[in-house]
């Protein structure tokens, strides 16, 4: 599973960790995150992420 980087703030989405604070369980591939999800650090949208 690929890690994705926020192009705004540099936060890395690691599928192994997920984003539990926003209800994204560990093990969730980036592709499966809902489009409404936002970067937990800077609030950027999912489309602002790039493959690491």
């Amino acid at each position: 599973m690929d890690r994705y980087v926020c192009t705004v703030c540099g936060y890395v989405y690691d599928p192994a960790v997920g984003d539990p604070d926003s209800g994204i369980k560990p093990g969730t591939p980036f592709e499966d995150i809902p489009d409404s999800w936002e970067c937990p650090i800077c609030g950027a949208s999912k489309s602002d992420f790039e493959k690491e």
Partner: protein
């Protein structure tokens, strides 16, 4: 210093830092100020504190208007310590149980700065707070320039408390845009180039949003420098221009030199550029502060970088500057490299790699010269300058 009433019942109770010349690595030739705003209404609110060592001065300023104990709400628009360092002292005087308004990320970040358990109130984007005749609205502005950053807007007077945005490092008794000369724009530009440039796309989005909301802004109160009251549109327009990163016919030549060879090359390149009608600023890295160089880079179309080869690598000051510029993510630049060397000559290749990594359009493989440039080498440098000028 005496607080200034900026609108009915609204005071700047902030402080001046006259003598600061190095603000976390930026040169601040004019010092700076940490602005803090007191709103006296049925409820009394304080917007932003100051740097820790100015806490007592802030409290003295507040006390000239009201007893700090009477403050009902403290608002933190931004966690960075030049605005939060004074919070512990302020909360102590205001009352530890009083609500501390901030963004969600503000609460997270403030608790990573201070062990105290403040009575945090994390606002929702768009939340309002009624003070009596005045109402405040809070607007999240994440990454302008920290994740916690937010704006506070006073609906009735249409005043925007904009935190670091639209600020300038400037200490003076003049408090408003109509009291200073055009020079203030240079300070505002420097602030933008060194703090906000990486987030230029977010600024454009925000301005679009604010325009769509039809938000009327009559006064902008940043946390540093003067207040924009005569023409707040001017600084907003300037931010839009800088964020688009449009550039004129301008080049910056950034270089260092050991025995003046790379410097001679820089001069010849500058001559070539100038012949093409390009405004050119040659800047020696150990004579110019990196933050002043970035201010020139902001509206330059070309950045030409030169370094001698030292021990098979770049001269160390280049490492400093290139790292710094990379983080600020300048866009739409063309570039080229040059430098002298003794026996190996890696510098031109290394600079080229760095600039390419920053997505500069390299318009020439660059010029390198062994030991000392002769007439032919200087002519090649002149031609490089001319070529860069023609590419604009």
């Amino acid at each position: 210093m005496k607080p200034v009433e900026i609108a009915k019942g609204i005071y700047d109770v902030g402080v001046k830092d006259w003598n600061i010349r190095d603000f976390h690595g930026h040169s601040t030739h004019m010092g700076t100020s940490y602005n803090s705003f007191l709103i006296v209404d049925s409820k009394i609110a304080l917007i932003d504190a100051v740097k820790k060592e100015f806490s007592d001065e802030l409290i003295d300023n507040i006390s000239q208007i009201v007893d700090p104990k009477k403050i009902d709400v403290v608002i933190s628009n931004h966690t960075e310590m030049d605005h939060s360092g004074g919070l512990p002292r302020v909360m102590h005087r205001v009352g530890e149980d009083k609500p501390l308004y901030c963004s969600k990320m503000g609460q997270k970040n403030l608790s990573l700065h201070f062990p105290q358990h403040f009575n945090y109130h994390a606002v929702e984007n768009g939340e309002t707070l009624n003070l009596g005749r005045y109402t405040l609205s809070f607007m999240e502005t994440r990454m302008l320039h920290w994740p916690d950053s937010m704006f506070t807007y006073l609906n009735e007077e249409k005043i925007l408390f904009s935190s670091d945005a639209f600020g300038q490092h400037y200490a003076g008794y003049e408090k408003f845009d109509d009291c200073v000369t055009e020079d203030i724009m240079l300070q505002a530009k420097k602030y933008f180039a060194n703090i906000l440039l990486p987030y230029a796309p977010l600024i454009l989005k925000l301005v679009e949003q604010v325009t769509a909301m039809g938000l009327d802004i009559r006064m902008i109160c940043p946390d540093h420098g003067i207040i924009w009251r005569k023409d707040p549109g001017k600084i907003i327009d300037a931010y839009v221009g800088w964020s688009r990163q449009n550039s004129g016919k301008k080049a910056v030549i950034v270089y260092d030199t050991m025995w003046h060879s790379t410097e001679k090359m820089a001069r010849a390149i500058a001559d070539g550029l100038s012949e093409q009608g390009v405004a050119v600023r040659p800047m020696h890295l150990r004579r110019s502060d990196r933050s002043d160089i970035m201010t020139e880079v902001l509206d330059a179309r070309a950045v030409v970088v030169g370094s001698p080869t030292l021990n098979n690598g770049l001269f160390p000051s280049l490492g400093d500057f290139l790292t710094y510029m990379k983080g600020l993510k300048p866009k739409n630049k063309i570039g080229a490299a040059f430098g002298s060397y003794g026996w190996s000559g890696e510098s031109v290749k290394l600079i080229t790699q760095e600039l390419e990594a920053m997505k500069f359009e390299m318009i020439d493989p660059g010029v390198k010269v062994q030991y000392v440039p002769d007439e032919k080498a200087l002519a090649a440098c002149f031609d490089l300058g001319r070529k860069i000028g023609q590419a604009m």
